[in-house]
Amino acid sequence: MSLKSVLAVALGILSAIGGFVDIGDLVFNTQAGAVFGFQLLWVVVIGVVGIVVYSEMCGRVSAVAGRPVFDLVRERVGFGPGLATLLAAEFVNLLTCAAEIGGAAICLQLLSGLSYRLLIPLAVIGLVVCSWVLPFEWIERVFGYLGLCLLVFAVAAIKLHPSWGQVARGFIPGSHTGGGLTLYLYFVVGLLGAALTPYEVYFYSSGAVEDSWGLKELGLNKVTAMIGYGLGGFLSMALMIVAGVLFLHRGISPQFLGTPPLAVEHVLSQVGLVLALIGILFAVGGAAIETSFSGAYNLAQFFGWQWGKRERPAGASRFTLSWVAIFAVAFLVVLTGYDPVKLTEYSVIFSVVALPLTYLPILLVANDRAYMGTRVNGRLANVFGVIYLVILLAVAAGAIPLLLITHGGQG
């Protein structure tokens, strides 16, 4: 491997780590930590392994067959069920995009002191201009690298000197204290949903086509998915540990997005606070772009339009119009003043329902020699793939009832 390709892999990993956390992880990991301490860390591991397995799979399908997720959905499940999946995916993308925009506006508010209402349009304009002007790799990298500021949460988690014995026990599922069973299960579903959000695989697989991945990139795919997303998972755990140490025994419920960064300030002073806010700003800003693009990728791939950022905006005009429209509608949703934390909870729980329909076609095509030749799934990928599909079906069935029973995690 040449120095240049090592560098390319390293940079890819860094942007995958920085891009891993989004508003869903922020909200669910800190709330779970505040209510249950470290007891739900095991769920983060299950979620992270799941996203690694399916990202690797759909990255491989993109590299070998050049086919992104919604191409496959349409080909394998047909028009009717495919359209239903598309509608569910677009609804969730839109809701998630709105939540991320709201999160970005809150960060800007905490950084600048200006009014939230004023900063919503500013955030949207900034994101649309970035998406319009910057080439694809730049969008991926700029937001991914600056999202790495979130590492201050890992530093804070260590500096808080948690009881590592208790942290270790959190990786073993079992009995729990601190809240009722339904609330515990609600957080299990939410944490899985936050780690396995469908837009991540839409974006990852279409991004692989955007970056013109071929057989040469199969190694890069494996490393990015395993190491990049794997290490990204540590950031999720750090969020839960910080919340578990600082919020659990004080009875603080992080219902406001500004609460987690304040935890960092508590440990690392003002510099830590600013870094945490910049990290969150770019993590959720990047995720807002990813969700709007995912929505446009899905539409274009379902209906067979020309798509991609490699094209000038006018060269793939319906695709361009789609992502601009998603930003516009998401902007209107945020403008209603609905709490971004609540929006996030709904978007994550609803996304769980759409997950099996997204992952099944990937699993089918990754096993189809007509598409994949000799690069079909190995036994390990299939065992994990099937186990996760079963988990997701169970979780999808429980998601909405748990949302209703727990009043959205209020207990």
Partner: protein
Amino acid sequence: MSDPVDLDIGLGILDHQLVDGDGRNCGKVDDLELSSLDSDSPEVVAILVGGNAWRSRGILGRLLARLAGDAVHVPWGEVDSVTSVVRLKRPAAELRLNRGDARWASVIRRVPGS
């Protein structure tokens, strides 16, 4: 394609990507027009793209077809090859495909940096 080929229509053609002579995406195989269904070897006469071609594709398809216009008929003779995508011989515009993109492109071109 001039020579007849045997294909599993359900899995091998329907819902697959159409790519035009310039290598650009230009819709999906939304439905197929077949000849002499009662004979032993029915043949595909045309590919139907968009609009009311969705009519035969379930409840959601019927609803969507009502909102859309007429389907575009692409004669089977225009097909260059069938792999995991269906490749056509000529550019999309000559086959009346991708008109949606063409319409919106003129709007988007007015924005700087497009």
